[in-house]
């Protein structure tokens, strides 16, 4: 369901297109051998090429090319066997060459598609316009000196994939779903770590509004949004701003706007008239990028199973619900974890444990899946103890908490604390008899039709056995005795 802004003159539709910049997972930069590790000391990952020293020349990093092709294949896009690097010319202190090497007219990847799933389960297909490779710029730091701007060139020359969508998105929710899905795909592919906090993924958001059925309106672009929340907030603010202008009889100026996350508003950075003339032209230092079908096929053969296919398989083969499958495949790590747990076990039970108590405990202990103290095998062993009746479901929840807190495995905790479920009918029967004898009045009431008292008797038996009695066995023995 798209976002609708109800204006005085009628309903407005919001139209959104995204340009996502995804940092290519690669040990070196797009055109130099410098390292790309995040968080290194300033200006320690800078080669003569990255600093644009005189006479230095770019040499394409083949890994980055492969990653771009892999991503294109993951987006079911057309791979262009001939593409060209262009120079985008502009002056800025953190752009050492005075131009960014990018791809303008002939990108490495052409049109593709991606599906997004919305909360109500609706599936939408979003068009991908293109994907191209380009260099990142360095970073200007304005707050470390009272009068000077400092420049860190660690990012200068880092390989980025710019992935451009068609204006197919209709709400902030869809935009967020798109970015999430894209992030999921590149992480599955291993072509980008998708880490928005570290700037590995950021989006330029184009927003316009129109009356339903009208032509596309004039768009404004908001640059460099680095969180899902900001993307959505910026869209809401910007769409409403545009509707207000149009309803007041004004016109939208095509411009680049800045989203101020502190004030929660967008403001003009530069108008179309002030836009840079980038003077694109093919970079004469680089040959056109060319490869053959065999190269593409080789990469295709190595593609991992992507979220859509994995989800379909989970539903079809493992018989888990659409919702659970969706949750499990969103992150490759979760899906992998699930598959280890579910191997040789009840898939549905495994899914429930992971999505429920396991995630709950991760959150409680401020852990993430990457540093979970409870491995997939340990969780599986716990589920086995429930399944074979060694412990009750309720006890298992407590054991899992203990596992998170101590790092011990389930069997050890059950042993240590004597949590083993009692299925010995003799012991349970004895307990039942004692309790019935002590509560004859309640037995009368039960027999008189107060069925609810069954729960009371079960609870008493459990209490008497220290919670260790197998609830199934208790029920089985208790009912005939009460019924008399």
């Amino acid at each position: 369901m798209g976002m609708i802004i109800q204006g005085a003159t009628g309903d407005w539709e919001v139209v959104i297109g995204l340009e996502v910049h995804a940092q290519v997972s690669s040990n070196s930069k797009l055109f130099s051998g410098s390292a790309t590790e995040y968080g290194a000391d300033q200006n320690t990952q800078v080669s003569f090429v990255d600093a644009a020293m005189p006479g230095m020349l770019p040499v394409i990093n083949e890994m980055a090319v492969e990653q771009a092709v892999r991503t294109g294949l993951g987006l079911k896009a057309k791979i262009n066997k001939y593409s060209v690097f262009d120079r985008k010319n502009y002056f800025y202190a953190d752009l050492p060459q005075g131009y960014q090497i990018s791809q303008f007219l002939q990108p490495i990847v052409g049109e593709g598609t991606m599906t997004i799933e919305l909360k109500d389960g609706e599936i939408r297909e979003i068009g991908i316009t293109r994907l191209h490779l380009e260099q990142d710029a360095g970073k200007s730091i304005h707050d470390q000196h009272p009068s000077m701007t400092l420049v860190d060139l660690n990012r200068s020359g880092v390989a980025l994939m710019e992935i451009v969508s068609e204006p197919d998105l209709r709400s902030p929710e869809e935009a967020a779903a798109y970015v999430k899905k894209l992030r999921s795909i590149v992480r599955y592919l291993g072509t980008c770590d998708g880490n928005m906090d570290e700037g590995s993924m950021r989006a330029d958001v184009n927003v316009s509004v129109r009356k339903f059925g009208d032509e596309l309106g004039t768009r404004c672009e908001m640059k460099n949004l680095n969180s899902m929340r900001f993307i959505q907030q910026a869209i809401v603010y910007e769409a409403n701003r545009q509707v207000d202008i149009l309803e007041a009889g004004g016109k939208i100026k095509q411009e680049t706007r800045l989203y101020d996350s502190v004030k929660g508003e967008t403001r003009s950075m530069r108008s179309k008239e002030e836009a840079h003339d980038y003077r694109y032209f093919p970079d004469p230092d680089l040959l056109p990028l060319q490869f053959d079908d065999a190269y593409i096929e080789k990469i295709k053969a190595d593609l991992p199973e992507l979220p859509d296919e994995k989800k379909a398989r989970f539903i079809k083969e493992l018989k888990i619900s659409d919702y659970d499958a969706g949750v499990l495949v969103a992150e490759k790590e979760v899906a992998d974890f699930f598959e280890v747990v579910a191997k040789g076990r009840d898939a549905k039970l495994s899914a429930n444990w992971i999505i429920g108590d396991f995630f709950g405990n991760l959150k409680r202990t401020s852990n993430t899946l990457s540093n979970t103290p409870v491995s997939a095998d340990s969780l599986g062993a716990l589920i086995d103890l429930v399944k074979d009746g060694t412990i009750s479901n309720r006890t298992a929840k407590e054991v899992l908490e203990e596992m998170f807190d101590t790092g011990k495995d389930a069997a050890a905790i059950v042993d240590e604390k004597g949590l083993k479920q009692v299925s010995d009918t003799g012991a349970i029967e004895a307990a039942i008899d004692t309790i019935i004898a002590a509560n004859l009045d309640k037995v009368e009431q039960y027999r008189g039709g107060k069925d609810k008292l069954l729960g009371f008797f079960v609870g008493q038996v459990m209490k008497a056995t220290g919670g260790k009695a197998n609830p199934g066995v208790v029920n089985q023995l208790l009912k005939p005795k009460l019924d008399g």
């Binding site: 003569f48 020293m53 005189p54 040499v59 003339d277 003077r279 032209f281 230092d285 040959l287």
Partner: protein
């Protein structure tokens, strides 16, 4: 001992091998020559200590039997090549104080073959010019003077310092770079041999860029054989330059067999320009005669798009330069003139740092790439360039090499062509087409003008067929018997 500075590289190689003199003695003679020729202003930076040290090490290597192709040979390096720890200026104020922490591939190759650097030689600013009048470090003076007057003459450009240093026996050879004729034209103006190899033969890594798709390094020497020796040492595939070509380096010297019987030599009719001096035309005829007498077959050919070469070149080269020179922004190295804001700092730095000719070309290039003009200028020029390359491809179906004059006139006096940039640009009319097509070309001194100035003939070849070009040039050189030398006015 006779004057060691008069030796050719091939002769010095023999003398060193036979132990007639040491590299130290050879270098010392050249340093003395360098010291007495300051008036020529060929050098921006003299590296005396480095030269003496290099010669000593070379002699040590020789003693151990470790002898490179240019072992102990003194060379001058155009100040467009980055040299580790040695000021590199590109003839520009904007590179004030720039001392690279790296060595260009071409010079690395030369040092690996035992060559010794005398210093960094003057050039037109960023190699933009045909007279060496645009250098921030002042004009280089041609060692030659007319017999009719005593006016100082230009050495040509942009490799003017290289040409003058070699022609005046300060250096046995020099590196040059050729974008539209910057090796061949000054070689012709100073009576030496200058060769631009095929684009991609020499690495551009570490060479300050002017126009990336055209720039190519090459040797400037006093004989064709020396050019072959030096080219072999400096070229070769370099993975650090994506446009460098992965091909084996032939033994160029071995190609100088002196035998061109049956070689087909093309004479392009479009190079018979109006306004070309009658001396140049006559020399061209002589050249044709010499090659014919040596057994070559002369074939009239047509290169129909020749007249569009200069206009296309003066779009493409400035367009690339406008982008290549954006890195000189005062932020990281070289000159910075402080300003009120970043933009103001840029304007002031680039305003003061670049000279008039560089600014002119940056403006032309920026304009040619601008939105709305790109198709009409840059794209059109690229189409013309493709046609010109096709012209040559077609011609090389019927000929092996092409013979033309190198320049439309002999060296001129300072200021003579300074007022009209277009007139200056015409200097490159015979050299630019081969640059646009990326072809190898060589200029060989072939005669003197009526007023005693050297004139050159140019031989162009097929891509990566430097061997045939050198062989034909060797025959031309032998037939021309060019032995004239400039009078050493600079010592007086």
């Amino acid at each position: 001992m006779s004057d060691l500075t008069k030796l050719k590289i091939s002769e010095a190689r023999d003398g060193l091998k036979e132990g007639k003199f040491s590299s130290r003695e050879l270098i010392a003679a050249h340093l003395t020559a360098m010291g007495s020729a300051k008036g020529m202003n060929a050098f921006i930076t003299e590296t005396l200590d480095k030269a003496v040290d290099g010669a000593t090490k070379s002699d040590d290597r020789r003693a151990k039997g470790d002898v490179g192709k240019l072992e102990g040979i003194p060379l001058a390096i155009k100040d467009l090549f980055c040299t580790k720890g040695v000021l590199t200026t590109a003839g520009s104020h904007i590179l004030d104080g720039f001392t690279p922490q790296y060595e260009s591939t071409v010079t690395t190759n030369l040092w690996n073959e035992g060559a010794v650097m005398l210093g960094k030689v003057n050039l037109d600013e960023f190699a933009m010019g045909s007279s060496n009048e645009t250098s921030f470090y002042g004009n280089v003076v041609n060692p030659w003077r007319r017999t009719t007057d005593d006016q100082p003459l230009v050495p040509g450009g942009s490799s003017g310092g290289s040409a003058s240093a070699v022609a005046s026996n300060i250096a046995m050879g020099a590196t040059g770079t050729d974008t539209g004729g910057s090796i061949r034209q000054p070689a012709a103006f100073t009576g030496i041999v200058g060769m631009k190899p095929t684009y991609g033969r020499c690495s551009r890594w570490g060479v300050v860029a002017f126009a990336s798709s055209l720039d190519q390094a090459g040797p400037m020497t006093r004989s064709v054989q020396d050019a072959a020796i030096m080219l072999e040492a400096m070229c070769g595939f370099d993975p650090k330059d994506s446009t460098s070509v992965d091909m084996a380096v032939p033994n160029f010297e071995a190609a100088l067999t002196g035998d061109i019987r049956g070689l087909k030599v093309g004479i392009p009719k479009e190079y018979r320009l109006d306004g070309i001096s009658s001396e140049i035309s006559a020399l061209w005829e002589k050249g044709i005669e010499w090659l014919k007498n040596a057994g070559a077959e002369i074939v009239d050919i047509s290169l129909p798009h020749t007249k569009y070469a200069l206009p296309a070149y003066y779009i493409i080269a400035p367009a690339e330069a406008s982008s290549n020179l954006a890195r000189y922004d005062g932020v990281r190295f070289g000159l910075r003139v402080e300003g009120e804001s970043l933009d103001d700092m840029y304007s002031k730095t680039r305003g003061e740092g670049f000279g008039e000719e560089v600014k002119r070309r940056l403006l032309i290039g920026t304009y040619a790439l601008s939105a709305g003009y790109y198709d009409a200028y840059y794209l059109k020029a690229q189409k013309v360039r493709a046609r010109i390359a096709d012209d040559f491809k077609e011609a090389y179906k019927s000929v092996d090499v092409i013979l033309t004059p190198t320049t439309p006139s002999a060296a001129f006096a300072f200021g003579e062509k300074g007022d009209d940039p277009l007139e200056m640009y015409l200097n490159d009319v015979f050299t630019v087409p081969a640059s646009l097509a990326g072809l190898p070309g060589i200029s060989v001194p072939a005669g003197l003008s009526a007023d005693g100035l050297p004139l050159g003939l140019q031989i162009l070849g097929r891509p990566f067929d430097e061997e045939t070009v050198l062989r034909a040039a060797g025959v031309l050189e032998k037939a021309a018997e060019f032995t004239a030398t400039p009078t050493a006015w600079w010592r007086g």
